[in-house]
Homo-oligomer: 384 residues x 2
């Protein structure tokens, strides 16, 4: 690890060298800011900043989620729109540029083609297919380094840690060969998802439900437990405010040991067209189901919508990456708790989260926010 | 009710008359905005705007809570600071100026002395002592009217309704001859105030606890139930971040049928100096206790800190005017629920609130917000 900033390898600290370091550091900050604008989901959150050869900020960009341009391409498009020359520019990006050419060329190739002069990335891409973007860049003769190798040690460490934290749960899901898991809880202020007699339509209001449908339209699959499938007879489709089906529908998944009601909507769909058939997993091995969904069905983002038993089991196994809490301004004092059976006896065993402050908002009269599980102290219990 | 704006009593709508109305209406909007900045508590939330005789906005003000200047005095002080002449000005205020001279002269007298030319107030003051501020103003020859009499009917109705809504719960508490009641719940994301084994120190973090102590320092009294008094042995004092006692301490109140533990802090204080003695009510008649606290102990703002049984009983009886929810980013899945025994069987019987969007904030890693009970559809059950 070098302690010198930018292209300077000497030990002297001249004003111009300090200025260059300061600009790199600011570029990293801009890239991190951009990354935070992206959604959590199938893809990591990535931000990019383009600096001119003399260090001026040319453009920034970020990744808006699956099926949209990557951060590097977004920043290049912004620069192009502004009519700016990116030849010889430095691209600062929070994650290693991908090597994966799919619908679009890989980011590494895009950067080479754009004539970028230097690439600084914060964190290595853990994804198999994409893992050698830096090799592509280097073989094209582009100076390609980690932030930690381009910035003074303490600054580089701090910025790198922040870039890693942005996608901590996404890295974990990738390592565990499972989809990124979003769980959604729609509860009362006192934590119930249904009243004592089972009534639950509707706890949250129209606006919050519309946000729920928007979420359904971006995930690859939605899972519910068999108890919920039996109690609510859900369609698990993504619909607009008028009840119309969206163009993109998530795969429907039912997990649990009980069979479906034979006349339920999900049971009927088993005999429908192949792509719309629910996947039924008669098991309680959630981790196994997740691995199968990723490997055999290409599910990279799974939404667990309920019920409490399935969400609680996933939380206990540390399989929830992003928890959406929709809180209705109402109290019941009794009913079905949103979470149960975590096996927690005393306060020190609690499951801790970080509430995402930027996610906090009112949706109609409901409160919505994201909570990200904190890193567990001990190894989580594995499957059954 | 006149349909003409300002001082115009004719039916013609000239450009200057329309402009005058528009300015009055904007003045009412400013006064409402200001009022919303004030805290809920012993005193109503009030905002004021001063307009020059030609209709220009001179100054605004609001009431910052017990032991601070009223909104009219605040606006006059702002105008004075700016060196502005308020002679002949219009004072627009969201509540009838008070007639009560205490530590400071009454607002009605203050407005007369300042040479104000016209007073427009939204809502009559329901408070006995203060109820004839408008009479004082009129007998001093000041044109004094309700907003609804000074603005076109539909506009006046809307603005008046908003002014009334600002203090809906305060009016209710005043009508019921009881203190304004704030209840505070510090719970997990899933609605528990203690783990299964009873551990509860601490659910929320330091910042949220500091906000709790700041609240204790402004209320007149704090109440807990006997179960909490026995389980937690609380001191119920207002302390700063270093544990030092604040200058102003709330009266301590214990409500419930069980006796105190003889060696508890509260039991010992019974033999201490008179002003620091806890008030012990061996009853479950909360409404009776509240009436007594107001009538015999001058308690105008009561904080109910717990436990769940006392808060739930107060909620059931519609005796909570402002609910503070401190939500820690943690889950337990079991334990002591924050609220219980509301007797609600089905969703339609739920207790509804309005979350106050401006109150929503992060306090350290905890989420804090206020929820105001909505108007009940049916008459709440009285007493036991």
């Amino acid at each position: 690890m070098s302690d010198a900033g930018g292209e300077d390898h000497g030990h002297e600290s001249t004003p111009s060298r300090r200025r260059a370091r300061k600009r790199l550091r600011e570029g990293c900050e801009r890239a991190l800011e951009q990354a935070r604008r992206g959604p959590l989901g199938a893809n990591p959150r990535v931000g990019a900043a383009l600096l001119s050869p003399s260090g001026e900020l040319l453009a920034t960009g970020f990744h808006r989620g699956a099926r949209t341009p990557h951060a590097e391409a977004d920043a290049l498009a912004v620069a192009r729109e502004r009519g700016l020359d990116v030849h010889g520019a430095t691209c600062i990006v929070t994650l290693e540029p991908c090597a994966h050419a799919g619908r679009t060329p890989s980011c590494a190739r895009t950067l080479v083609d754009a004539g970028i002069g230097r690439v600084l990335y914060a964190v290595r891409d853990p994804h198999d297919v994409a893992a050698n973007g830096s090799a592509i860049l280097r073989s094209a003769g582009i100076d390609t380094r980690l932030w930690s190798d381009a910035l003074p040690a303490s600054v580089g460490r701090d910025l790198t840690a922040r870039a890693a934290e942005l996608n901590r749960r996404w890295f974990q899901a990738t390592r565990e060969s499972r989809p990124f898991v979003t769980a959604k809880i729609a509860q009362t202020l006192d934590g119930y998802v249904a009243a004592a007699d089972g009534t639950n339509a509707w706890i949250t209001g129209e606006d919050a439900r519309a946000e729920g449908h928007a979420l359904r339209s971006v995930v690859d699959a939605i899972a519910v437990g068999t108890a919920t499938a039996r109690a609510d007879d859900p369609a698990l489709t993504a619909r607009d405010a008028h009840g119309r089906l969206g163009a993109r529908q998530p795969r429907r998944v039912v997990i649990g040991e009980s069979p479906l009601e034979p006349h339920s909507r999900l049971a009927k769909a088993v005999h429908g067209p192949e792509h719309a058939r629910p996947l039924l997993y008669r098991t309680r091995d959630i981790r196994g189901v997740l691995e199968d969904l990723r490997a055999d069905h290409g599910v990279e983002h799974l939404l667990i919508e309920g019920g409490p038993r399935l969400i609680s089991a996933a939380l206990s196994l540390d399989l929830v990456d992003d928890l959406w809490i929709h809180q209705a301004p109402t109290m019941l004092g009794a009913g079905t708790p949103s979470v149960a059976g975590l096996g927690i006896e005393t306060l020190s065993e609690r499951l801790d989260f970080d509430i995402v402050p930027e996610s906090l908002h009112m949706s109609g009269s409901d409160l919505l926010f994201h909570a990200i599980p904190r890193t567990r102290q001990q190894t989580p219990t594995k499957g059954e």
